[in-house]
Amino acid sequence: MSQPFSRRQFLNMVGAAGGSAAVYQASLALGLLPSAAEAHTPRAELMNVGQRERRVVILGAGLSGLVCAYELERAGYDVTVIEASHRVGGRNLTVRSGDPIDEMGNPQVCRFDEHPDLYFNCGPARIPAHHENLLHYCRMLDVPLEVFVNVNYHAWVHDPEAFGGRPVRMREYMADARGFMTELVSKAVNKTDFDAVFSDYDAERLLAFLRAYGDLDQNNLYRGSRRAGYLRGGMTEPPELKTPLDFTEILKSSFWQFRMHWGEGEDQAAPLMQAVGGNDNIIRGFVRNIRSPIVTKAPVQSIMLRETGVDVVYHHRGRLRQISADYCFNCIPKHLIHGIRNNFPAEYLTAMNNVGRGKLFKIGLQMKERFWEKENIYGGITWTNQEVEQIWYPTHGIHGRKGIVQGAYVFDDATNDLFARLSPAERIELAIQNGERIHPDYREHVETGVTVAWHRMNHQMGCTAQWSEEARQRYFRTLQRPAGRHYLIGDQISYHPGWQEGAVSSAHHALAELDRRVRAELGSSV
């Protein structure tokens, strides 16, 4: 055995010795197949505390806070939710005609027309199919969902540095890129001395695979593909293939760097969903089903841990008020907690200090006509490496008169800083200038817009929590565990910051810990 084993050789040997069940188990062990266990996070099942009153104060009416309120009141806890802002929902924010946008220093009012389709999801906009804890609540709370188109091969790929700045269809870029790559690999298969690794049979299968994968002809050459879209014809006239794009231009474009595979990511792959009529219908679903008081416009002034509980002071209607609770669940953004008087342990505060404050910027533009549909684009995302990064076309309201296009989705810090320092009007102007290079008559269609810099939004001042690998190793467990009777929650305390599922899962994790503690404190005889 002088040669190293390939994984396939190994599996063949296992198969010969133990049959297919053995191969299956070995594959699991090698991480080649998903296990049923890792796909499920058990939902909180809380012991009912009944008459033995346990009081909980929840700081922040973001999604994780609402999940806790919903579950705890059903388990007999006395719950109060305290929220600093005028509204509930945290970063789950959908704006419609007349809604305020509470950005620090740049207050705006949404001037969209009044129409059920004319809304903009400023925060979470898509729900992956495996975010099952969130989907569980959508089901429980009767929040209707519809399919959301995330990746659209008809949308554009745009890069001022490639193809002479001309946008190309994503399908064309991807088909041609794959065609060229597979052609290159097929040449290598023919040239290399593959005998040491592959049998003739393997090599033949590999070439067949490459032909199928890249749409190569019988000579293993790429001469264009229907996948790129026809140049003309194909219905009543004979189809004519497009001439493949110049491969050097394909390489020059930055699209392949991560954007091309982005739609295959765990959280981005089809199908995704959105709540019908706006994603804040998830929040409305919770509020409809929570009986406990949710006190808004009530900024927290102090959080004091005691041996037997937590004292919270908040300011409401001109007065300071105190709640003494047995437990506290807190989804206030960790970077704002430092500004609240507290007596948290030093290591808890240090841990919070080591989680970065992310930045995120979006623009929603009301278009007087759904011009993109005339370009065969129904939903999905165009990519550009200009400042706005992405342009989203609405999945809902197809063939309606108007639509809300997401004119920017920015996630790099420098560009987020750039947009933040512009006025809302200047931001929209920059987005229009970017958009015009992809859709020539973009400007004429823009009627009004809203700009949302999450790193500048009142009560948020950031999106999303930035965990370095080192911070994960050193501080995640510190913050996930309670400090005394205080539980920090939210997407910030998850491996999925920026996703509602992260918020829900974090709430479930904290609730499970609370449940263990309460069972120990009260005994399981209740």
């Binding site: 740049n106 008081p293 041996e307 004292d311 300071l320 003494s324 970077h335 500048r456």
Partner: protein, 384 residues
């Protein structure tokens, strides 16, 4: 709705848990919440505007009104927060722009109304090295980093040290002090460029930290002590400490030959006090800017009086004084008579007969060019 809440009006928050917060916020004291219109300020600058490093928002509590007004104006004009590298300044700028003048004044009043607290020390540097670097800072910011309105120099002692480091870096890099019109910022940048390196920034800030710790004690206690002293004044007046003042034999010159202070008396050492400019609009550091020796001495005593009163003290409690005088421009000798004209108004009068032991010196120069007078005193705190 409010069943779980207790209405408590002015609230005393008790920190029962043993855990220490390390951020200076955990003390046992009532909270002064921000007025409704100023809530956005507190989101970033924190409850009672104590500062929040996580969003780079500095402490505002206790800062003088003139400085807060000036900085808000600087943000409005774009002197601050318009350089791309001044990211947190950029975050503040639109916020300053939407404040109405009335809100600005309310913000200034609120910031002044909440008690100062000592922020936690986060900067490690060499305070000894910082002390010598700080000498040039003290010309404007004062020897104890107390700040000077006349010099448009803010207090440094008690500010968040990480904020001082950030701002010094920005002055150094040009992210502050390079916008046309921001003359004060440009002057500050010129001074900061004298700091040789990053380490120097940390050293000088480490020294500023010592000014809060050693000289002012726990700032929270400072106001309490002042309040107690003020109460003592209200209930029975300033009973002078039980000191013995020995008169100058055969002379009516208004100083004591010696002053004897019994054991158990609290002594207060006051830093040297320098004058405010007589005419801030005049050319900086000119004779007209500062005024003559008598005018400068009057200013020094007026400032000293303010400072002493804030501590529950007065000129009658002075037991020892040192006077430093510089010869007026073009002269060889100090203007001793000019100084005495001012001195006699505060010492040896019918209203205030208590005389200190005193020395006066002519010196080559004081902290800023053109300054002619500096006075330092030691006081015996009246018994309670």
């Amino acid at each position: 709705m409010m069943r779980a809440a207790t209405l408590i009006g002015t609230l005393l928050v008790t920190a029962a848990a043993a855990a220490g917060s390390g951020d200076g916020l955990s003390s046992t004291r009532s909270i002064v919440p921000a007025p409704e219109t100023l809530r956005p300020c507190a989101v970033c600058h924190g409850v009672e505007l104590v500062g929040n490093r996580a969003v780079e928002a500095p402490r505002l509590a206790g800062l003088p009104a003139w400085y807060l007004r000036r900085q808000l104006e600087a943000f409005r004009r774009g002197w601050r927060g318009s350089h791309p590298d001044d990211v947190s300044g950029m975050e503040m700028r639109p916020q300053a722009a939407v404040l109405t003048d009335a809100q600005l004044e309310e913000a200034v009043r609120y910031a002044a109304s909440v008690p100062e607290r000592r922020p936690p020390v986060t900067v490690t540097g060499d305070p000894e090295r910082g002390r010598s670097l700080f000498q040039s800072c003290s010309a404007c910011h004062g020897p104890r980093g107390e700040g000077s309105e006349a010099m448009l120099a803010p207090p440094l002692a008690g500010q968040n040290d990480w904020y001082l480091v950030t701002q010094l870096r920005r002055f150094r890099s040009g992210a502050r002090g390079t916008v046309p019109g921001d003359d004060q910022g440009a002057a500050m940048r010129a001074s900061v460029l004298a700091l040789p390196d990053e380490q120097a920034i940390h050293d000088v800030v480490a020294y500023v930290n010592t000014l809060t710790e050693t000289d002012q004690g726990e700032p929270e206690m400072r106001k309490t002590a002042a309040a107690a002293a003020a109460l003592a004044v209200a209930f029975g007046g300033s009973a002078a400490a039980d000191v013995t003042r020995y008169p100058l034999p055969g002379s009516d010159f208004p100083i004591a030959q010696a002053v004897e202070v019994p054991a158990g008396t609290t002594l207060v050492y006051h830093s040297g006090m320098t004058p405010r400019p007589a005419n801030p609009d005049a050319e900086r550091f000119s004779a007209e800017f500062w005024g003559d020796t008598e005018a400068q001495a009057m200013s020094v005593f007026a400032r000293l009086q303010e400072s002493l009163e804030a501590k529950g003290l007065g000129f009658g409690d002075v037991v020892k004084m040192q006077v430093f005088l510089v010869a007026p421009p073009g002269e060889d000798a100090m203007d001793f008579d000019g100084f005495m004209n001012a001195y006699r108004k505060f010492f040896g009068s019918e209203d205030q007969p208590n005389l200190p032991a005193r020395s006066a010196f002519q010196v080559a120069g004081l902290a800023a060019p053109g300054m002619l007078v500096e006075v330092e005193v030691v006081l015996a705190r009246p018994g309670r």
